[in-house]
Every structure is written in C-alpha cells, then in structure tokens.
Amino acid sequence: MRKRAAAAAATASLSVLAIGWLVGTPAVASLQNTLGGSATDATVSAAASAPAVSTPTATATAPAVATATPTATATATPAAAAPAAGVTGTFTGSVVATRFGNMQVSVTIAAGTITDVTALQLTDKDSKSVQISNRAAPVLKAEVLKAQSAAVANVSGATYTTQGYLTSLQAALDAAGF
C-alpha cells in the first residue's frame, strides 16, 4: 500500500468514526432537539438520548406513534385540555407493539407534576425480554420522575423496552396536555 493511500485511508476512517461518534452521542442529539425546539430544559436535554428519541426507530414503533394520540385514554378528566399547569389525574398511554411484545404505561399527574408511572404491559415475548424489561422499567420510571418528561436516556441493553415505554408515556402525556 502506498503512503498516499494509507494516509487517505487513515483520514477517511477517522472521519467516519468521528461522524459515527457524534451521531451517537447524547450531547449532539440534544443539540438537534434544541434546534427542533422540543427540549427546553437544560437537564432534560442532557439526559435526552439519541437512539431512543431522535433516530428513526424500528418499523414496529412507527405505526404505534401514529396511533398513539387517538388511543390514549384518560381515566380522569383533565382540568383543561390546552394549558398544562395544574393537570391532575391518571392517563393511560397507547399500546406500542415492539419486536419483543407490547408495551403500555399509565402516568399519574398531580397538579402538573408527574408523580408515578405504572407499567401496564411490558415486553414479554420470551423470558429474556421479560427479564430485560423488568430490569429497565424501574430505571426508566426513576428517570422520568426526575426529568418530568419522556425525554430520558436509553437504558442500555433494553433499547426496545425504552422506546416502547417512552412512546406510550409520551402518548399519555399528550393526552393529559402535559
């Protein structure tokens, strides 16, 4: 291999690696979110995760997002549809189909604060999925309570669970007008 070719290969490879790293790093994804106007809170954007939120995800979740809003049902009537402040009640998110089973969560909001997230259905296609989602669900719940939104980091090793969980949660929050 000639020196010139080796130099070109090294430069190109490093560029490719750098681009891959930037695409996969939360800081950049949060920048994209900020530019898109969806994340406003500094702590939330820091926790926002690239694969869970910003990349086009599995085809399994794509139709689920489309049906999210209509199927989300509220078990308690929100005080007002549009203003978020002071919402109280329990809201059930849509059922999100993933490769490893269906996911559905409900969210409890008290006076505009997320106080609880309950997993109604978790990925259960096999014992591996059950084990993964059982591990991920408490982590996700804690993150959501901390961030007060569905913009939280991917739980590593449980990408599908995370995506399904957060998609269903977002549908519930949308229904609450939160």
Partner: protein
Amino acid sequence: MSLDTRPLRLQQRLPETTHTRRQPAPRVNPNYPRRMRLADTLQVLCIVSVALAVALFLGSGGAARFGTPADALTSIGIVTGLVGTDLLLVMTLLAARLPAIDRAFGHDSAMALHQSLGKPALYLILAHAVFLIIGYALSSEVNVFAETWNMLTQMPDMLLAFIALGLLVLVVVTSLVIVRHKLPYEVWHIVHLLSYVAVLAALPHMLTAGTVLVAGSPQWYYWLALYVAVAGSIVVYRVVLPIVRSLRSRLVVAGVDREAPGVVSIRLTGRRLHHLQATAGQFFIWRFWTPGQWWQVHPFSLSAAPAHNSLRVTVRALGDGSTDLASVPVGTRVSFEGPYGLFTDRARTSPRIVLVAAGIGVAPIRALLETATFAPGQATVLLRSHSVADSYLVDEIAELCRVRGAEFRIIAGKRAPGAHSWLPGDAVNARISLRTLVPNLSESDVYICGPRRWTDEVVRDARSAGLPTQQIHFERFDW
C-alpha cells in the same frame, strides 16, 4: 556440464507477422499510474468499510454503553461482530472475480489477501459470540451455559447464527494449509461454498437481535446494501458471466498434441473469442465435459496468445484430473471461467522484459513471449530444468526468440541439496544470479512462473538485485 546456455541473439530484420505488427519502439506502460490509482481506491474503500462497521455501532449510541462490565463486554461483542462480518464480506468480494480487483491486483494477490483475512475474520466472529454470551450472562446473572441455552431457545434467529458460526469454523479449518493439502480439491471447494451459506445464515440475527441495525435506520440501509452488493457481485461474476461466456463461445477441443511424456497441449476452438478480451499470460478455469471429467475444474494458463477463434493450453499431469486430459476426445465441449490474472503485458512498467520459467510454468511465458512489447535485443527468456531434455515447448520458444530477437537460455542442472536458490548448485558456487544472467536488469520487468517455492526463490533473487516490486511479476500454479 549443467549450466547450458544457448544465446540466440539474432538481430535480423523482423518479417511482417501477426505478432510483430505492434510498434517495436519500447515505451513505459501508461497503464501503471492508472492501475495504482485503482489499487489505492480499492484499498482505501476496504479500510473505510471497517471504520464504517465501527461507526455503525457508535452511531447507535454505543460509545455510552461501556459503564458496567456487562455493558462493556456486550459492546465489545457487538463491535467484533460488525467488523468480523465486514471482513467476511470483503473476503467474499476478493473471491468474486471482480474485474476491477483483477485489473488492480491480479487474481493471485487478491486470493492471497483473501486467504490472509480468513483467520482474523474467524477470530473476530468467535470473539463476538464469546463476549456477547459473557456480557448477557453477567446482565442476567446466570452462568454462560445457561445463557447460551437461553439465547438459543429464546432469542430470534439465534439458532441460525450458531449454525453459521459452526460453518465458518469448518470452512477456515479445511482451508488451513496442513488440512487443505490432504483434501481433494473438490471436497475443499464444496466445503468452502458453505461460507456463502454461513454469511447468509448470520444475517437474520443481526437484524432482529441487535440494537444497531434497527429496521429503517441508516445503519440498516447501509448494511443491507452491503449484503446486496456482495451477493450481486458473486451472482454476476461467478455464476452468470461464466455461463453466458461459455455458452456464447461454444468452445470445443480441436486437438490434443503430445509435447513430452505426461505433457500435452490442448487446442480449443470457438467463436468470437476476442469478446473475452483475453491476453497472453492470463489463465482460465476450465471444465471439460466428458463423462469422467465434468465434475472437475482445472486452472490452466494459455500457452499461446489467444486468437479470434482458437485458444491453447499446455498442461502436465499434476493433480488427479490432469492425467486423463491427454485422452480427452476431440469435439468435447469446454466451459470456463475467466480470463483472469495480471501476469500480462498490462502490468509492464519498463522497456525491457525478462521471462523466467520452470517446469510447466513455461506455458504462460511462451504466450507472453509471443505478444509482449519489446524491441529486438530487449528481451531475455530463462528456462530452468533438471536436464536440457526435460523442458517443454523449447522449439516453439526458440523459434519465437529467433523471430522477435530475444535472448534464450536454458539453465539445467540439479539444485544443490539444502541450498536456497532457484539455480543449479554449481551456478550458485560460480556466483551466478539473475543480475549476472540478464543485461540491464534494472530496466526490466521480470515475469516468473513455476512451482511455488522455486518462484519465491527467483523473486528473492530479483529483490536482492534491487528490483522494485512493480517490476517483479509472478504467478504460482500449484494452488
């Protein structure tokens, strides 16, 4: 007397024959810079494809997944799997007879690289399996055997992936030099074809079990495009093109001429053979459709420059199959893959040429001598043999040398036992080498064809004479 040289430097005026119609004024081949640019491009693409495989992982947020031992092991497992598979695809392309690869590196070098990538690719894939099993076992808090069982029984497409791994191990083990020499070529070849099955069987688990190649993501599109491109190359260049060319050429055996005990020239005729764009020095992989031969293929070089409707090969009983070729009937249909190889005038970089052959390696040398570009007095042919009598095609070569004005030497004699040289023992003692045999060696391209170890010795001699790599061309015929 063991060093018999027959200088035949006849500088007569050349008659107007077909093979001297070329411009005799020597020129440095303008092809070389273009060929090196192509080679550079292919090498860069190959290395960047490895970087891309790692970038796929990083792009899915992989850099953040090294926090716990379980995550770190899982992440390493994913990266080794991606890079290993990328190398497998590169290997497959190297064996796909892509015209660009043959033009840039030649079949020989491409296959040598293919061979040298085999073990690293297997080790990466094995590491992929081991790291992921340990990583998963750690996160599920079970032992590795239980985790392996869980993966096999509960994860999608994992059974196929384990089968693919088993096939890969089988393919690489049968290709180890020590094993391969004990197997008939056909058995090795059939086992080797299983690597296609392995690469395909491994695909489903990459798409369903991982989180890197999520359906619809850019990663997913890239990976599938890579697979489609590689599979397409195999189908087009290893299956469709050879069949179409064989059918179009309608090649049949026109005659078998006995050259020496155990050595025959097979003349083949067909139609529109110039469409193959074969050149002297190239080889084809032949299949003779007789009841006892059709299941065997033979890589043979052309032993004469290809003509519009005829080709010729000269073969010796080397493997099991070559023995019966002496009795192949006239009219036998012949199918082929090829032409392949860069052992041609296209690889030239210098005005002078030196052709060195031993044994049946004389065949492509004889073809090259017919059409290579050189002016009278600027070519040397060296034939190495045990005794003056056991060289092949000597009369033809002597005649071509006379007509084209090349110097011709037969170097006969037994090798000194234990000596590492391509020359006879007493020639070594007399300090004879390529440099003393060939005038103006530094301005020459050296073409070497012979048995593997002998070829290596000539290459070593040429290198020690200070000849740069691009002026040394060789083809080993015992693969």
